[in-house]
């Protein structure tokens, strides 16, 4: 099945020093692992910020127990969180989870490691660019973390950084902008690399319509990263100018802050920032969700033992979705005062984009029909993704229609909506991906019992956190409130959910302990696995040893003879036919 008979040690590789091998490596697999570990740490850190916030939301004004004393007097005097610190935590939670956690894990880690293996490429097209991309990301992360230490702390104008508030905020906002410049640069380098690799380095026989689903979504995602991120990089630089050299790109004339007329030239537009921001941030939503869908597609095909339903239709849907994602951004801005023509356009495009989304979800659901289901740990995560993504997607409908957006905009309803897509949606899928490809990377399997405990805890508590948000949002409770809405009379009927959600969040943290233990324990002590433990068909399992050969991946270049998911082909001896089997 694999072509290991060749002597790979004679592949003209000298023994590399530790630093070249593990730190400044150009091997896509090592870079993928670097991305993965860094992103997981950031996910944990960003989650930790939220655990602190949830204390303040559940028990406003009570001192934080156990760890409250660790914080400075500018953050939590006497352990009681200040509103300015709460706002820092909120802005940085969003920024870190999106730009330092989920995207680097979904694209930087999974994409980097898996895509070249799945298409039979020896590495990414530009290995040094790949390394530069990781280090730009790393620097961006360092800048973001360091921003907590500057005077008056980190950015506190929300992860959306709307001016004029962001323009007049303290130094943390400048750090945020520099951090974003690094992070977007990293994404750009990565996107160019993915596109070139997938277009140029597919092995013989790997036509576009034989590419695994996961590689396809990475391909479309790379286009989104390439085309959507530069506007925010430009916008960030403009906001930096506003803050540092006195320009007024986003500042209108006649601003009066705290009774003083602001000494700026004016003439700028706060709405310009919102357009530039959402022009990035809506495609960004698909950057968060598509790779997760790709992972789920791989796991479902493998564990249903049958081809994905409507493979071509799903590919076309992904392409269409990617295209449409560029022309829906202003549905985030209905209540800025949008008139009828513009709002009609963006409502129509938003309803249109729901069509391929429904096709994709239906395709994954229908793939289960006629299957022979294996409830492995990765499969549990992939299956749970489907209804969670469904809830997240459906709750987007009333937000995408302007009149129903009025009562729900900027409430907890939208927080519930996008978290269902990104947390119980994407993050569950990413966990599934970790369990699925862990044997490929380490040669060992993660423990199944711990994996299932991790799954059920994560699944239940995530719903415990996010489901009540819909109830609070429908009642009108705004997001980003330091006291969780306690100020308002109309929130009094639903305010008690805050405690329930917070306890769910802390239990969600406890539910991650088996995962963290399992992850490290399995690296060294996990059960050793054979070449293809899941009896999969795609090249990363069938054409290269487990773990793969450093630098070069394949002893002999694989040749592809068939479609990616030839499971349970009638009349065959095994229930899976590898893509490279003649």
């Amino acid at each position: 099945m694999t072509n290991t008979e060749h002597d790979v040690s004679g592949h003209a590789h000298h023994e590399l020093s530790f630093i070249r091998k593990w730190i400044f490596s150009t091997d896509h697999k090592v870079i993928g692992i670097q991305y993965g570990l860094t992103a997981l740490l950031f996910l944990l850190f960003g989650f930790g910020l939220m655990l602190l916030m949830r204390w303040q939301l559940a028990y406003p004004g009570d001192p934080v127990p156990l760890i409250g004393w660790l914080f400075s007097d500018e953050q939590m005097p006497g352990g009681v969180m200040l509103p300015e610190f709460y706002n820092q935590l909120g802005a940085m939670h969003g920024t870190i989870m999106v730009f330092l956690g989920v995207v680097p894990l979904a694209v930087g880690a999974f994409g980097n490691y898996i895509v070249p293996l799945q298409i039979g490429a020896p590495d990414m097209a530009f290995p040094k660019l790949n390394m530069a991309s990781y280090w730009a990301y790393f620097l961006g992360g360092v800048v973001m973390l360091a921003s907590f230490l500057v005077p008056a702390g980190a950015a506190k104008a929300g992860w959306t950084s709307y001016p004029p508030l962001a323009d007049i905020e303290t130094m943390g906002q400048t750090m945020w902008l520099f951090g974003m410049v690094f992070l977007i640069t990293s994404s750009l380098l990565g996107a160019i690399n993915f596109l070139t690799t997938i277009i140029q380095l597919r092995t013989e026989g790997m036509t576009y319509m034989r590419m695994p689903f996961f590689t396809w979504v990475q391909f479309v995602t790379a286009f989104l990263l390439l085309l959507a991120f530069p506007p925010l990089e430009a916008a960030s630089v403009l906001q930096l100018f506003d803050r540092l050299v006195g320009t007024s790109f986003f500042l209108p004339s006649g601003l009066v802050v705290s009774g003083e007329v602001l000494d700026v030239s004016g003439g700028g537009s706060p709405l310009l920032w919102q357009h530039l921001f959402w022009f990035l941030a809506h495609p960004e939503v698909y950057v968060l969700i598509l790779p997760a869908m790709g992972i789920v597609g791989e796991i479902i095909a493998n564990n249903t033992r049958k081809p994905l339903w409507g493979y071509k239709l799903m590919i076309y849907s992904i392409i269409f979705l990617g295209f449409m994602s560029f022309i829906v951004w202003a549905h985030h801005m209905f209540i800025t005062g949008m008139g009828t023509a513009l709002s009609a356009f963006f409502q129509i495009t938003t309803m249109i984009i729901s069509v391929p989304s429904v096709v994709l979800l239906s395709g994954l659901f229908l793939s289960l029909w006629g299957s022979s289901l294996r409830f492995t740990t990765p499969m549990l995560f992939a299956l749970a993704f489907l209804p969670m993504f469904g809830i997240g997607g459906l709750t987007g409908l009333p937000l995408g229609l302007a009149p129903t957006d009025i009562p729900l905009h900027d409430t907890m309803y939208i927080i519930g909506h996008f978290h269902y897509l990104v947390a119980p949606g994407t993050i569950l899928a990413l966990f599934g991906g970790i369990y699925y490809w862990f044997p490929k990377v380490t040669g060992r399997r993660m423990n199944d019992v711990l994996g299932k405990i991790h799954f059920w805890g994560t699944f239940i508590f995530m719903n415990g956190i996010f489901m009540p948000m819909f109830i609070q949002g429908l009642a009108g409770v705004s997001r980003r409130l330091y006291d969780g809405g306690a100020t308002y009379e109309f929130a009094s009927n639903v305010i008690h959910y805050n405690e329930f959600m917070s306890i769910s969040a802390w239990l969600l943290a406890v539910a991650q302990l088996p995962f963290i233990f399992n992850f490290f324990w399995s690296i060294w002590k996990g059960k050793e696995t054979n070449e293809n433990p899941w009896e999969a068909t795609t090249l990363e399992w069938t054409a290269t040893p487990t773990p793969p050969i450093p630098h070069g991946n394949f002893a002999t270049t694989p040749i592809v003879y068939r479609d990616p998911y030839e499971y349970s082909v009638p009349g065959e001896e095994t229930d899976f036919l590898p893509q490279n089997q003649p």
């Binding site: 300015e84 006649g254 706060p270 129509i348 289901l373 302007a402 009562p407 009642a475 330091y482």
Partner: protein, 255 residues
């Protein structure tokens, strides 16, 4: 209009207190019906499949998989319903709020000038004309909106902080502006939410239909005290609104 479809009270929406609110609530109900039907449909299918096609029950998978037109029909239905929601509800409702402003001089008019972290409410007084404002006259303790006292139109104007009195059953037009950062004027019971953007004056209109006290909640993060940027709306008969304005002027409660 098919009233039984209205499930807004089960959705937990606040009491509706304006003329346009029931329309939004009805549309909200329809959208949630669509969500519910899809969710239950796929949910039942999902659970059935998980039992029906587990490995022990179905050891050999079918290479062909699902057939039939159900999926296409579902797609078609979703497209039809979404189109109906757009054409039948979303466009008309939005058009009504954005384009069908009450005729000049028929509505009760106020200006709201938002700032960190209060709502300054400017009533024109008996003459119905708003006095001139100048940012250079702004003084936080005596003149928060920079009203020009030398303008004759300003003589009977009233400026209050966080206290908005509106007449019931009469169209209301509010001109929203901000001195500093973006705020958002939201009153949940009114089904009204409008970003208040510095540099722009944004008019909104609605017709309160329910007397009572309501809260204005700033819905856009505007700084450290955003969470308590609260105002109060009192909806009462026009005569009492007029009396209250005169009483505030007489008492010197205003700036």
């Amino acid at each position: 209009m098919l009233d039984f479809l209205d499930i807004s009270k089960y959705l937990g929406l606040p009491t509706s207190a304006t003329a346009h609110a029931p329309g939004i609530d009805y549309m909200m109900s329809l959208v949630h019906w669509l969500m519910l039907v899809l969710c239950v449909g796929w949910g039942v299918y999902f659970i059935y499949v998980l039992f029906r096609f587990r490995q022990s029950k179905n050891p050999t998978a079918s290479y062909e998989g699902a057939r039939g037109k159900y999926s296409k029909m579902q797609e078609g239905a979703v497209i039809l319903i979404e189109s109906a929601l757009l054409v039948g509800f979303a466009f008309p409702l939005w058009g009504q709020l954005k384009n069908e402003f009450p005729a000049e001089n028929t509505a009760f008019e106020v200006h709201i000038i938002a700032e960190q972290f209060t709502w300054n409410i400017h009533y024109p007084g008996a003459d119905g004309i708003f006095g001139r404002r100048d940012i250079h006259l702004i003084d936080l303790s005596t003149n928060p909106i920079g009203l020009d006292e030398t303008d004759p139109a300003a003589a009977d104007d009233l400026v209050m902080i966080n206290e908005l009195h509106l007449p019931v059953d009469r169209d209301v037009v509010i001109n929203l502006s901000s001195k500093d950062v973006i705020h958002s004027f939201g009153v949940p019971q009114f089904r009204i939410k409008q970003d208040v953007i510095p540099g722009l004056v944004i008019p909104i209109w609605f017709r309160p239909t329910l007397e009572g006290e309501f809260e204005i909640a700033c819905a856009q993060l505007c700084g450290i005290s955003h969470y308590r940027m609260r105002g109060f709306v009192t909806v009462e008969p026009q005569a009492r609104v007029t009396d209250w304005i005169q009483q505030m002027i007489d008492e010197g409660a205003a700036f």
